[in-house]
């Protein structure tokens, strides 16, 4: 016990000078020429089997007694999820993709010991068909500006010393020793940082009003309730670099004079919860969190709260209600949360990415920061580029990059030779942007002008086989389930929109329905209590604006051009192409397909439930969907 206490006390950083000493000693211990095998341990790579790869490396290293020469590290998400599990061999950054446990022996023998590259594990650029050896040369990474997300692939998120070695907590020491709270706010204001959670509210102004609010107790909150479907950058950041988020929160707390903070994180993100918890414990042990932080006399603690799985809790007042143990219903915000929030105390709530930006601004200065981005949107943004796209993953780019560069240069375009149709940004509050706007620079204001929004950074690419009416219906159904039901426009309005859209996709739509949808949209944006309802019509309005012909095809011709809406399509078998292989016959759940081996099959439409199983299994394109 005494021994444990003594060890704990030894770890504690009592001053800024001690932190620098600690940093130096960690850096000195590291041999930069030593081989380091870093395996991506993000959720997607884990799902693809990275844990077995890590175990295989550990076994192999032990078997060959290489513990001294070789360091093994499980890092946070590298971003290129499409190609996981990812392995990077430092210091040269040799990049292996889709690595399996059986590849490990070869990697150790050939690359680590032999200095040679295992060709078959390299990434092949689909455009040039060339093999790429080093991670920074992969086109997916090459065009990114990874100021916040870059460290994810380099540090072990469960080891605070990795973060400290990379310069971590230096912004906090700068703040605690030399900056007055107002000076920090001025710097944030000058940087032009806007909230990364969706709304894009100027962060400096929010901090100012929370600092100016008079109260004995104030709170700092990190919003990690990332509910937008198709967005997962907050999770990856909290999983992969939790200390960068914590450091931002401590600085925020120091500025407004708060002594307690919360991280509100989705229950569906168990790894993020675990890593955030470890980070808090380690920061406490090192005296970077808790009482008398770095000997400055400033106290701050952080608690993790797991969300209950309600989308509306991403809204600040609903989130705070949920933190209080109540149901997550939003309040009318006559008074800002920064003045009267959690338990009626002034509360500073920012998104995960916003918090992670803070130490960067403090360290490098507002002038440096504001050089990145556009006039109204500064810095970088992390997007999750998903859907019908070749390179699925997380992408950090400067604000102002065009959609075309994102989708075609970084994302590698649309798979299977299909045509691009639309890109959906901003989650259920955003909209669908068609091809003619692909050269639009991506920032808060430009996306809003197009009837969409930045949101949390989800970017879902859709190809020609996507039905835009179905997409609108999908989002409305989503919001129908997630509306808390407190205010009438949202509760009733979304339900009516859902009924109308569902009618249109079943061939029961009328032209007047489109006017009703637009009316309902107006009522929602004017009358709903919170942003969920106010923006709920965006997916409908933007698809109506850009893809009206598709709505009309459903209404007038009773046809779904993309072949998605079940009630409007028919399946049949082309007797010319059918080889009589029996695959579809076996796959059909209702026995609607009959025929003999090596003879063309027939499909009985009376029995067909249009599940598409035959379409999926046919290898000869003989199943026709129209």
């Amino acid at each position: 016990m005494v021994e444990q206490v003594r060890k704990l006390l030894e770890k504690r950083v009592e001053s800024v000078a001690e932190l620098e000493k600690l940093r130096q000693s960690i850096v000195d211990k590291k041999d930069s020429s030593r081989t380091c095998i870093s395996v991506c341990g993000g959720t997607a790579c884990r799902a693809a089997g990275s844990e077995a790869v890590v175990d295989a490396f550990i076994d192999e290293i032990e078997k060959r007694e290489l513990q001294v020469q070789v360091e093994m590290k499980e890092t946070g998400c590298h971003g290129f999820c499409e190609r996981g599990p990812l392995v990077v061999i430092e210091p040269k950054k040799i990049f292996y993709q889709q690595v399996k446990p059986e590849d490990v022996t070869e990697i150790i023998a050939e690359t680590v010991l032999g200095g040679k590259v295992v060709e078959r594990l390299l990434y092949v650029d689909p455009v040039t068909s060339q093999k790429i050896t080093y991670e920074p040369d992969v086109p997916f990474y090459k065009r990114q500006t990874r100021t916040i997300f870059g460290a994810n692939g380099e540090i072990d998120p469960t080891n605070i010393e990795d973060y400290i070695a990379s310069g971590g907590y230096s912004a906090l020491s700068k703040v605690l020793t030399g900056m007055k709270p107002q000076q920090i706010i001025d710097e944030i204001k000058k940087s032009g940082l806007r909230g990364r959670g969706g709304g894009g509210f100027p962060t400096g102004r929010k901090w100012q009003s929370c600092r100016d609010a008079k109260a004995d107790i104030k709170y700092v909150i990190c919003n990690a309730d990332e509910g937008d479907p198709g967005a997962y950058q907050d999770r990856s950041l909290l999983e992969g670099n939790p200390h960068s988020v914590l450091e931002g929160m401590i600085i925020g707390a120091y500025v407004i004079g708060s002594h307690h903070g919360y991280i509100y994180v989705r229950n569906e993100y168990p790894l993020a919860v675990r890593h955030a918890r470890i980070a808090i414990e380690q920061a406490m042990d090192y005296g970077l969190l808790g009482e008398n932080i770095m000997g400055s006399g400033f106290d701050f603690t952080v608690t993790i709260n797991k969300g209950g799985g309600a989308f509306v809790c991403g809204e600040s007042s609903a989130l705070m209600a949920s933190l209080e143990g109540k149901i997550g219903e939003p309040k009318a915000k006559y008074v800002h949360m920064s003045e009267k929030g959690l338990w009626d105390s002034p509360s500073l709530l920012n998104n995960v990415k916003t918090w992670a930006n803070i130490s960067l601004i403090i360290n490098k200065g507002a002038d440096w920061y504001s050089k990145i981005g556009t006039a109204g949107s500064k810095g970088t943004m992390i997007f999750s580029l998903v859907g019908n796209i070749n390179n699925t993953g997380l992408v950090e780019v400067p604000m102002g990059i065009t959609l075309r560069e994102m989708i075609f240069d970084i994302g590698g375009g649309i798979p299977n030779g299909k045509k691009f149709k639309a890109v959906q940004t901003g989650g259920p509050s955003g909209g669908c942007i068609p091809e003619q706007f692909l050269d639009t620079p991506v920032d808060f204001d430009e996306l809003t002008k197009l009837g969409s929004m930045m949101g949390s950074g989800g970017m879902i690419v859709m190809d020609e086989d996507t039905c835009m009416v179905d997409v609108a219906k999908y989002f409305v159904e989503f919001l129908k389930g997630e509306s808390c039901g407190k205010c009438t426009p949202c509760r009733e309005g979304i339900n009516r929109m859902s009924e109308i859209l569902s009618g249109i996709t079943r061939g029961k739509g009328k032209r007047e329905d489109l006017d009703t949808l637009e009316d309902l949209a107006g009522i929602l944006s004017a009358g709903a209590l919170c942003a969920l309802g106010q923006t709920a019509a965006n997916p409908v309005l933007s698809t109506l604006r850009y893809f009206r012909d598709e709505y009309l095809a459903h209404i007038d011709e009773k046809k779904c051009p993309a072949g998605i809406c079940r009630e409007l399509i028919q399946y049949s078998i082309d007797p010319e192409k059918c080889q009589g292989c029996l695959r579809c016959l076996r796959a059909c759940p209702t026995g609607a397909i009959t025929g003999e081996k090596r003879e063309a099959h027939t499909l009985n439409r009376g029995l067909c439930i249009k599940c598409g199983a035959c379409y999926d299994v046919c290898k000869f394109n003989a199943v026709i969907r129209q």
Binding site: T43, A44, R46, A47, A48, C81, E82, G84, E226, G227, D228, P229, G230, A231, Y232, R235, S236, N267, E268, Y269, N305, K306, G307, G308, G309, A310, F311, S322, L323, E324, G325, K326, I327, G328, S384, V386, G387, N388, T392, G393, Q424, G427, G458, I460, M462, T466, V471, Y474, F475, F478, E482, C484, A587, P589, C611, G612, A613, D616, V617
Partner: protein, 165 residues
């Protein structure tokens, strides 16, 4: 409200775990605002929220039972129905949706006769949907008992589910 349990076996489990329930509730030391976290812990223990446990929570934390139920029924994460031996979660996030996630739900509905939220009569499977698991690169994704099954189609899902008895 009838607070008796429908499942005698489950009742036996809950009764034998009274100590566990007490220690879970006590670990929050009467902290009313930690209700959601407490409920999450209880659900992790039993796989669902048994009603008599909720009554206990209400009494021990001095929160009206109506408020406990309003929280339980508001959040998606909570369920009042016992779950089956295997939990099948189909992701219906946007990326999985455009890649055909809803057809996987239909497949399970058809083959096992259950809708999302339901459990098969033999308690083999509970079907649930989720709005995004954040592994969009692997979509459509289905999670069975915590194991991620990536790039699924109805045929593959069928083969996966046959492996769970």
């Amino acid at each position: 409200m009838d607070l008796t349990l429908d499942f005698p076996k489950v009742k036996a489990i809950v009764e034998s775990s009274t100590e566990k329930v007490d220690s879970l509730i006590d670990s929050y030391a009467g902290n009313k605002e930690q209700l959601i976290s407490l409920l999450q812990d209880i659900q992790a223990e039993f796989n669902y929220l048994p009603q008599d446990v909720l009554v206990k929570v209400s009494q021990k934390l001095d929160i009206p039972l109506s408020q406990v139920f309003s929280v339980v029924t508001f959040f998606r994460a909570f369920t009042l129905k016992p779950r089956g031996r295997h939990l099948v979660t189909v992701c219906l996030g946007t990326a999985c949706h455009v890649k055909g996630g809803s057809r996987l739900v239909e497949k399970v509905e058809r083959d096992y006769g259950i809708k999302p939220g339901d459990t098969t009569e033999d308690m083999r499977f509970t079907l649930e949907t989720v709005n995004c698991l954040g592994c969009c690169a692997l979509g459509p994704v289905v999670v069975v008992d915590g194991k991620y099954e990536s790039k699924m189609n109805p045929d593959k899902l069928d083969r996966v589910l046959r492996g769970y008895k």
